[in-house]
C-alpha cells in the first residue's frame, strides 16, 4: 500500500533573539539598516540563536493508520503537526501528503462569541474546509452529536464551557478529511463526552481514514493507536509498535533525576554549618526499571553533614508539580544532632500523587526559622498514569489523586420513584 503521508528529513528552525516571540519595530530595522546597510538582516545582530524544533524527521503513514506521537513538552510534536497541516513551512525537507488534511489543533478555531451556535457551525465548518452543501447535509447530525439543539440560536458566549467544547468538537468531527491531525483534544469535556469523542475517532479510523494523534496520555495512545512515534528534541527516538514505543518512552523518556549525591565535603552544596550529601527517591515494591505510576509508593531519602554540634535542625521538603505549584511541604520536626552525617526519609504513599512531573525542593532549617540551605529541583521524577478500567482517558483533575474509602448506600428505599 502506498503511504498517504511521506515525510523526508523535515526540519524546522526558529530564530530566537531576532523576531521570535516579540515583534520588532520599524525603527529597530531602520536603525539597523542605517548602521550596517550591507549586512543581511536575518541573524545579523549577533544575538541570533537558531533552535531546531524539528530535525531530520522522516516517516511514513499508511492509509487508515492511527499514529500516536508522544514525547515531552517541546519535543517537536506540535511543530510537526503544524508543518503537516501547512500552517508553518519546514525549513528543510519535504512531506508528500495525499488527501485532504483536517487539523484539530484546537477545537473551536474561528468560533466567535457573539455569533449563535447555528452561525458558528457554518463559519467553523468553512474555516475547516467544508463546503456549504456538505454542512447543510450534516447539520442535523452535528447538532445532535453536540447535544445543543435547544440553544442553536443563542450566541455561544452564553454557552457553558462544556456546551461550547461539544459544539466545537462536533463540527471538527464531521469535517471528514482523509487525514485528521489531532492535538490533545481529549483533555476537554466530561467523561461521557470523551467516550463519545473516542468512539467517533474509532469510527473515523474504521472508515479507512488516517489519524495522527499527539498526546501526553499514554493510556489513550495504547488503546487507539496502531503505531507510535516518540519524538525528543525534534528527532525521532523510536517509532514502531505502540506497545513497544510507549514502554520505551515510559522507561527512558522522562526527564528524570532520581538521585543526586555529593561525596566531596568541600564542594557539596552548603557552607561551614551544613553541607548536603545526597537526595534520592526510590519506588517501593517494584523493580528499579519499572515506571513510577500513580499507584507507586515513593520513598524520599536525604542526608547532610552537620557541622553545628547540638544545633536544633530540621528537614523541610517541598514537592512541586510541572507547573511549579507546591503540592505539599513536609517537615521532619526539629531536634538536636551531634556533628556528623544526618539522614532523613519519608514515604509518599501510592494512590496519592496525580500523573505529572514532580520536583523536590529541600530546605534545612535551624531553630524552626533560620534557613541554612534551600535548593530547588534536586530530584525530578515523573508519575505515570496507569491503565484504567473505565472508558475515560482524560487527564485526572486535581493536583493530587488520592483514593479515599467511599461509603455508598441507599437510605430508606421508598419504592415510589
Amino acid at each position: 500500500m502506498n503511504p498517504i503521508i511521506r515525510a523526508e528529513d523535515l526540519s524546522k528552525a526558529y530564530h530566537l533573539g531576532v523576531a521570535q516571540g516579540s515583534y520588532s519595530t520599524l525603527r529597530e530595522s531602520f536603525m539597523a539598516t542605517v548602521r550596517a546597510p550591507f549586512r543581511r538582516r536575518r541573524g545579523g545582530q549577533g544575538k541570533d540563536r537558531t533552535v531546531w524544533a524539528l530535525k531530520d524527521v522522516s516517516f511514513e503513514v499508511l492509509p487508515g493508520e492511527v499514529l500516536g506521537i508522544i514525547g515531552r513538552n517541546g519535543a517537536g510534536k506540535s511543530t510537526l503537526l503544524k508543518i503537516l497541516s501547512r500552517i508553518t513551512e519546514p525549513t528543510t525537507g519535504r512531506a508528500r501528503i495525499r488527501g485532504r488534511v483536517g487539523s484539530l489543533l484546537e477545537v473551536g478555531t474561528g468560533f466567535h462569541p457573539e455569533l449563535t451556535g447555528r452561525e458558528n457551525i457554518s463559519l467553523n465548518a468553512a474555516v475547516l474546509g467544508m463546503k456549504r452543501s456538505e454542512v447543510a447535509l450534516k447539520f442535523d447530525e452535528i447538532v445532535a452529536f453536540a447535544e445543543v439543539e435547544r440553544f442553536m440560536d443563542t450566541p455561544v458566549k452564553h454557552y457553558s464551557t462544556g456546551m461550547y467544547m461539544r459544539l466545537a468538537f462536533a463540527v471538527a468531527a464531521f469535517v471528514e478529511p482523509e487525514i485528521l491531525l489531532i492535538d490533545e483534544v481529549l483533555a476537554v469535556g466530561d467523561a461521557e463526552f470523551q467516550k463519545k469523542c473516542l468512539g467517533k475517532m474509532g469510527e473515523v479510523s474504521r472508515d479507512g481514514r488516517t489519524i495522527l494523534f499527539v498526546t501526553h496520555n499514554m493510556t489513550a495512545v495504547k488503546s487507539l493507536c496502531s503505531r507510535a512515534m516518540w519524538l525528543d528534541g525534534g528527532r525521532i527516538v523510536n517509532a514502531g509498535e505502540t506497545e513497544e514505543v510507549v514502554n520505551d518512552y515510559l522507561q527512558n523518556g522522562a526527564p528524570v533525576t532520581l538521585e543526586q549525591e555529593w561525596n566531596d565535603k568541600e564542594s557539596a552544596p552548603g557552607d561551614d554549618k551544613v553541607r548536603l550529601h545526597r537526595v534520592s527517591i526510590t519506588a517501593l515494591g517494584q523493580a528499579a526499571d519499572e515506571p513510577i505510576t500513580v499507584k507507586t509508593a515513593i520513598e524520599l531519602n536525604a542526608a547532610f553533614w552537620n557541622y553545628l554540634p547540638g544545633a536544633f535542625l530540621s528537614f523541610s521538603i517541598v514537592l512541586c508539580n510541572r507547573d511549579g505549584v507546591a503540592i505539599f511541604n513536609t517537615g521532619s520536626g526539629g531536634r538536636s544532632f551531634p556533628e556528623g552525617l544526618v539522614r532523613g526519609s519519608f514515604v509518599i504513599p501510592g494512590d496519592f500523587l496525580n500523573d505529572d512531573i514532580y520536583t523536590i525542593r529541600l530546605l534545612l532549617v535551624q531553630d524552626s526559622g533560620v534557613i541554612l540551605l534551600d535548593l530547588h529541583d534536586l530530584v525530578v521524577f515523573e508519575v505515570h498514569d496507569t491503565e484504567r478500567q473505565s472508558q475515560w482517558y482524560g487527564k485526572w483533575i486535581g493536583a493530587v489523586r488520592p483514593t479515599f474509602k467511599w461509603e455508598v448506600r441507599v437510605d430508606e428505599p421508598s419504592g415510589e420513584l
Binding site: 520588532s24 511514513e60 508553518t88 508528500r96 474546509g129
Partner: protein
C-alpha cells in the same frame, strides 16, 4: 538498526511508484519568486464569504441603531463638513449643493478608509486562525474589505434620495459608478493586504495608520473640488489614485466632464499597488504563523 534507519529504509523500499489518484500536496520550503496561486484563492471563496459575513454580523451586534450606523457615519460627517467648510469657510463646490457634493465623496471615502483600516488590522486580529488552520492568508484582509462593501451598498439609496432632494438630475453617466466602486475596492484590497502583512511584523502600522488615513483624506478632493487646486499642480494630484476616482464619481452623478486621464492613471496605479502587494504578501506569508 536504529528506528530512524528502519524508517528510512522503508522509504527506500517503497521506491518509485505511480501515484494514486487524489490530490497530492507537497509541503516543502518555498524558494524564489512566489506564485500568486489565484486558483487556490478561488477554491476558498466560501471562506472569504463567511469571514466577510461574520464581520458584518458582528459589527452591529449590541448596538441600538444597528445597521443604521452604516448610513449615519458618512451622513454625520457630511453635516459637520457642510457647516464647517461649506458654510463657515465658504468652499465652492462647482455649483453642486455642498451637502450632496460632500456626501458623494464621503461615502466612497468612508468605505475606503474603513476598509483599509479594518484590513490592515485583520491579520493581527486573526492570529488564532492563522496559528491553527491552513488557508490562503490573503482571504483575511480581502474579507475585511468585503465586509465594508456591504455598508457602501446600504448607503447608495440615501445618495439617490439626497440627489433628488437637491434637484440633481441623474443621467446615464451613473452607469460608470459600479466601475468606480470596483476600482475603489481593488485599491482598498491592494493597500489593505500590503499593510496587513507589514503589520504582522511591524505593529507600528496600527499607530501610524490613522495619520496616514487623515492625510490621505485631505489630499483627496473630498471637502473641496479638484478645480480649487492650482493648475500647475494638477498633474501631481492625479498620482493620488483616489482623487481620479472621486472626481469622476462626482462627474458621473452630477453630469460633469469626465477626467479620463485621471481615471486611467487611477486604474493603472491601483493595479500596480494590487499586484505589488499581492506578491509581497505571498513572499512573507509563510512566516506569519511563526511571528504573529
Amino acid at each position: 538498526m536504529t528506528s530512524g534507519e528502519a524508517i528510512k529504509s522503508r522509504i527506500k523500499a517503497a521506491g518509485a511508484r505511480p501515484s494514486l489518484p487524489g490530490r497530492e500536496v507537497l509541503v516543502e520550503p518555498s524558494r524564489g519568486w512566489p506564485s500568486l496561486r489565484v486558483r487556490e484563492l478561488w477554491e476558498f471563496r466560501e471562506l472569504l464569504y463567511f469571514l466577510a459575513w461574520r464581520d458584518v454580523k458582528i459589527r452591529y451586534r449590541q448596538t441600538v441603531l444597528g445597521v443604521a450606523w452604516a448610513i449615519l457615519q458618512p451622513l454625520l460627517t457630511t453635516i459637520m463638513f457642510w457647516l464647517l467648510f461649506g458654510r463657515l469657510a465658504g468652499i465652492k463646490s462647482d455649483g453642486i449643493p455642498y451637502p450632496v457634493f460632500a456626501f458623494a465623496a464621503l461615502m466612497l471615502w468612508s468605505f475606503f478608509s474603513n476598509a483599509v483600516t479594518a484590513s490592515s488590522n485583520s491579520l493581527v486580529g486573526s492570529s488564532n486562525l492563522i496559528t491553527k488552520v491552513y488557508f490562503p492568508r490573503m482571504i483575511i484582509p480581502i474579507a475585511a474589505v468585503g465586509a465594508g462593501l456591504i455598508d457602501l451598498i446600504i448607503t447608495l439609496p440615501l445618495l439617490v434620495v439626497m440627489s433628488l432632494y437637491y434637484g440633481v438630475v441623474l443621467r446615464w453617466t451613473i452607469s460608470i459608478v459600479p466601475v468606480l466602486i470596483l476600482l475603489t475596492t481593488l485599491l482598498a484590497v491592494g493597500v489593505g493586504i500590503g499593510l496587513s502583512a507589514l503589520n504582522v511584523r511591524y505593529r507600528d502600522v496600527r499607530f501610524a495608520l490613522p495619520f496616514v488615513v487623515q492625510l490621505w483624506m485631505f489630499a483627496s478632493p473630498i471637502i473641496y473640488p479638484a478645480s480649487m487646486l492650482p493648475t500647475r499642480w494638477r498633474w501631481l494630484w492625479r498620482f493620488n489614485p483616489l482623487a481620479g476616482i472621486i472626481e469622476n464619481f462626482r462627474a458621473a452623478l452630477f453630469g460633469r466632464q469626465f477626467d479620463w486621464v485621471a481615471l486611467a492613471v487611477s486604474a493603472l496605479i491601483t493595479m500596480g499597488v494590487l499586484v505589488y502587494s499581492a506578491f509581497a504578501f505571498r513572499r512573507v506569508e509563510k512566516s506569519f504563523a511563526d511571528i504573529i
